[in-house]
Amino acid sequence: MAEKRAESQPVLEIRNLKVNFSTYKGIVKALNGVDLKLYSREVLALVGESGCGKSVTAQTLIGLLPENASILEGEMILNGKNLTKKSKEEMRMLRAQAIAIVFQDPMTFLNPVLTIETQLEEVFMLQKNLLREAVAIQKAEGDVKFADLIKAKSAGSSQTDKGASKKETKKVAKKLSIDLLRMVKLPDPKRILKQYPFELSGGMRQRAMIAMAFARRPSLFIADEITTALDVTIQAQILHLLKGLRDRIDASTLMITHDLSVAAEVADRIAVMYGGNIVETALTRALFRKPFHPYTQMLLRAIPNILNPVERLESIPGTVPEMINPPPGCRFHPRCPHAMEICKGERPKLLEVEKKHEVACYLY
């Protein structure tokens, strides 16, 4: 299955993306040539330590970089369209329709004074075509489920009812909202619609956020550390939910996390990021079985393993590179046990060392 996915055309392709932040202290070179491919219906986990540029990648993708940031080079191609060339308004439409993102902390990312129903409805109202489509299905078949809409989108056969009245669209929106909440496995969706965010638990809110994200029928779904703020049991539930939804929602997922176990749980492929570069991408199993890049190897050794307990976990010596004056060449070389002279020169390119296993390191 994963094989088939990888061979298809990538949904998202990031080429040599460079993003700088200009701050008081100097220019922070946050992304230093990121190359990434995301295939259809694939879950790609972007892992890396704090400050390595995972979230900046996500922000760049949705076109919501802070004001002091600028894209220097590179392109992002989503479904054949170059995102770097889009205007602000076009990016807004894309965010409303094609790219969905769920953020880290579900406590603060919902409007505290509106009910879940109003907020979900709002997502639908931002894209009238989806509702008109839903009205068309409702009229044709007497009932409408969110799954029908996704099917219609995948098949590319969407009919819209242009003459849909406001009352009809409202009714359909409510129906879809309930259906969506049921899809993210929230109990008693009718009651939850009437509730305010503070009446829900963290996990429930995160489910509501996921529902809002999927309500857009996105082709790219970005999950920015969605499980970080949740406790472990809820984390497992949310991951389980994402896994279950993956094949029902026709979307590719970019999962951003610093937790390798989370990545291992849901991802098809993992891309390891270090200091604003992708240093290694591989299928999940391959990465855990045989990591190539020294950083990945050390990272994996720093995680406790239940099958192979050790007295003391290894840590990676040194500190996270300073991004204002990053080390030249491979950014990992000051901490790398295998550093060579060549590592200080040119930055190594991502090369395929095994099938679907790319590494940016001079060792290979």
Binding site: F103, P112, E122
Partner: protein, 319 residues
Amino acid sequence: MQSREEKVRKGEWEARIADLKYTLHLFRKNPLVMIGTIITLFFVALALLSNIIVDPNLAYASGYEGGMYRFDRKYMWSAGHIINWGPGISIYSGPEFFYLGTDGWGRDLLAMIILSIPVDLYNAVVIVSIAAVFGTLIGAIAGYVGGIFDEAILRITDIFFAFPGLVLALVFAAMFGRTMETLQLAIVLVWWPPYVRLIRGQILSEKEKPYVEALRALGASHIRILFRHVLLNSIFPILVQITMDLGGVILTFSALMFLGFSPSPSMPELGNLAADGYGHIFDAPWVMIFPGLVMLVISLAFNLVGDGLRDVLDPRLRR
């Protein structure tokens, strides 16, 4: 048998009633707020019913004509003379029993106070709503947009803050004549800048919250984000301020009236009535005391309600 649909609807109703009960509970929890609410409601009811309780013609039937004051007999002691009767004095020849005495025109003070409450309340509502809507809109946009626009708006409000409010209103009223509309406008003129500052501060902190970022990620437009989300989250202090200002505006409006900006000297209005008694403060103190007391009670009541509203309205505080 109840259908499923009916059950759900019934559940919704129950939830709504429970919600209302909780609201009332929050209100009841604080006795001062309860008292404020009751007094406010009492005055609102009085304002609505004033024309039924007291014949409004009484206020205007009077007037200086041909050297003689012509009053309805029912409400004065004797034609031709202005006699201030003290509270609780009854007149033998008729049903007259002046609970609060008579005013400087010889009219029943209680009747006049009752007639002046709708005048004061109406003006306060008009003034505060115009000032609040105007100030909130400008402040919200200034806070959200920021930059030069924000700066310009702030400097304009600074100009208004630099003047003592009452003096500015006085100048305005003196310049444009003593009609009700001028007076309202004069007070609106000094009343909107605080709303600008209040809402601007709220919006500044609110627009940095993560849910705004989430909305942007959702593809919501700026107009939608500002007016539907950010403004709604920042509006509670404004509502509290409005309630409290209702009392304040009544005081300011009456002060203007007291200072002689009343469109007509016989107009029943609390400040006007008090001004009327100003000349007789030693021989007939009640003419000044009772309208003043009513002013005090009304503005106090609105302040108490404002306090309570904050706790009741904001869903973030209802846990």
